[in-house]
Subunit: 404 residues, 2 copies
């Protein structure tokens, strides 16, 4: 196996997946802090901080950061999620040290200039406006809130506009200085790089990160319910689902197989029944997303207003059929083959391998060998898939309807 | 070089980019026929045909097609563009023959069942509805129409709803039987496959394709102008641009460099001025897209209604500055480095390499070695970039404004 992991004295994990056949390196810092660590009055601080990290350090202006990475043809980016904030780069193999230097600078030397902060607030308000103009995003945010009402797990990653407008500079800077702690962080790389190289860079740049334990968010409390929002748009956007397994529950792999055969590809039940046999949608798909202590399993569909009831009836009907008869052998084998091949295909991308390695360390505290992932998928039985379907068929789904 | 090209007696090009270090193959048929070959009364036929190709053959039902490819964990997909329609798959290396067999079946044995056609019309009407709910897509479609009014080049790829609703079955089937001709098609593959293997499969499956020359669409006539559309949405979406070089003009590479330094990355002029210095947008970027005999170079931005004039003024001001002083050496070097690294990074993906190879054969009738692409980018001078800016700064732009 090409993966090596070591830990600095402060608890920072350093992980590499060495691939000698490529000319590039994907690398980044994955931080186990995100939206679900936020109190309501600070909803959006993780994402605002992620933006502000690019706005200047003691050594570099915001412009310098952008120019230095692009001068070597590299990319630098970041994202905020509910449980993680990631800062990552992709560069040619000789530029890995520069990329780590820039990441270290923004993660340990950011100045959070007050004028930059005021401007960045307006950028994020535009980002929120853009998301508001994309109904699928709006429907999923509403679904998250419906599933996990009145708690951090249900709140928007981009944050509430009032918070984005008014959060004090100290709260933004403090989010990094207080919450970004070495034991909750993973510096990962995949591509043309040796472990010792990255380890050396980590020792030079990240030895000073605090060694206090990672912050633990409040437990998620799935409640579920229904939400309808009226909008003057072409399609009616539906999200329907249930509480699913966390990353670490035994049900994780069965839920992946269930989701794949229920609505995961062209040959899945929902694609065949709703799109191919009835022509009611262009897009329909199932999802099974997990977090540390909970998850969501469900279906998205975009359809005509007058077809919404029919789509929902088929979504429920196929669930009941799976609950009653289970998957047949062919469809189970197909779902396993799809998941297996996806894993293998993702291994050809340095950025997929880097992110997967970092997430495995944050969630499971170890890298999971590809063979183990494949074995877990292979081991999922028809009975397990049937059980999932039976549990959901007997439950009341959470439902979002967004449209005219 | 890992690329081999050969030609069947009927004129079909067979091209492989062999990569022994990967476990997968991306392959597909790129057909030099698309929206710009359509008369107004048949606008949408290319795209409707692309959908119908998956709806059953003499040997396979629509469900069989989906199940067979997914049973081996493969993906099968297609897209329609203005000058090309592509049908492609990604599979594990041992399944290349199956993927070609399925592609051949849908490209030579489709039955265009009347009932399937009626259902697929409604799927595409939903796809049009979904695109209508995505303002950036709507703005770009309107920009294309404004740039190339009253001609095939300006029309929507998804087609007019009236046409999608009513186009006769014979017109759909005829679009394939009459227009999909071997000299206008490329069967390409990148990944773990030998040229002789693909060549053998091509001889078995595609020797019967007609050898008549490729259809030639009417020449594009750029006119330009302005279009404004009122919508009750959060942001104002702006697209502004000019006629650009075709794929084969000398100006192609200078336009790529111009677009990169004008608005192509975080360090570009527009990102720095509009987002970083003024916070007026979340998304702003430039583009330089080419076709056989024309192209478009321009800028997209999503902003607040009250900021639209200011954004447009900066877009124009930076253009005038580039026209007056040209790019400085650093920014020119940075743009070249970004393009060079992008080319190298794209080479790590079998799907990128497959598509690039096919497009090069359709456009240039030869594969272009990566070193040649890099040299062309390196050869672009400050004077050439300045000339482009000067030409556009002195011209009246095409402009689309979509928003409240």
């Amino acid at each position: 196996m090409s993966v090596t992991v070591s830990t600095l004295p402060n608890g920072l994990r350093v992980a590499t997946d060495t691939m000698k056949t490529v000319e590039t390196v994907s690398l980044g810092m994955w931080v186990g802090v995100g939206t679900r660590h936020e109190r309501e009055a600070e909803n959006g601080v993780s994402h605002l901080l992620e933006h502000m990290a690019f706005k200047g350090t003691e050594r570099r202006t915001a412009g310098d950061i952008a120019r230095e990475i692009e001068a070597v043809g590299g990319f630098l980016n970041a994202y905020t999620a509910r449980e993680v904030t990631a800062y990552y780069a992709k560069v040619l193999k000789d530029d890995a040290a520069l990329a780590v230097d820039i990441l270290a600078d923004i993660l340990t030397g950011s100045v959070f200039d007050a004028e930059e902060l005021e401007r960045e607030r307006t950028v994020i308000l535009q980002e929120i406006g853009q998301a508001q103009d994309f109904p699928e995003d709006v429907a999923f945010d509403l679904f998250q809130e419906t599933a996990f009402p009145a708690q951090a797990m249900g709140r928007s990653i981009l944050g509430r506009p009032e918070v984005v407008r008014s959060l004090p500079r100290e709260a933004v800077a403090g989010w990094m200085s207080e919450r970004y702690r070495a034991p909750a962080m993973v510096l990962a790389a995949a591509g043309h790089i040796e472990h010792e190289t990255l380890r050396g860079l980590a020792e030079r740049h990240f030895a000073g990160l605090p060694d206090t334990p990672a912050p633990v968010p409040e437990a998620a409390r799935y409640a579920g319910g229904e939400a309808r929002e009226n909008r003057d748009i072409e399609q009616t956007h539906l999200v329907l689902g249930f509480e699913g397994p966390s990353f670490i529950e035994a049900g994780f792999y069965p839920a992946q197989v269930f989701s794949t055969l229920y609505g995961g590809g062209m040959s899945s039940r929902l694609f065949q029944e709703v799109r191919e046999k009835r022509g009611l949608v262009y897009a329909i798909y199932s999802f099974a997303s997990s977090a540390a202590d909970t998850g969501l399993v469900g279906v998205y569909a975009g359809t005509a207003q007058e077809s919404a009831e029919e789509v929902l009836a088929i979504v429920r009907g196929e669930l009941e059929d799976l609950a009653g008869s289970g998957p047949d052998e062919d469809e189970l084998a197909r779902a396993r083959a799809q998941l297996r091949a996806s894993l293998l295909m993702a291994r050809e991308s340095t950025s997929s391998r880097c992110e997967q390695l970092a997430q495995q360390l944050l969630v499971h505290n170890r890298p999971i060998p590809p063979e183990e992932l494949t074995e877990r998928v292979e081991a999922v039985s028809a009975a397990e898939v049937m059980d999932i379907a039976a549990r959901y068929a007997g439950a009341r789904p959470s439902l979002v309807v967004l449209g005219p």
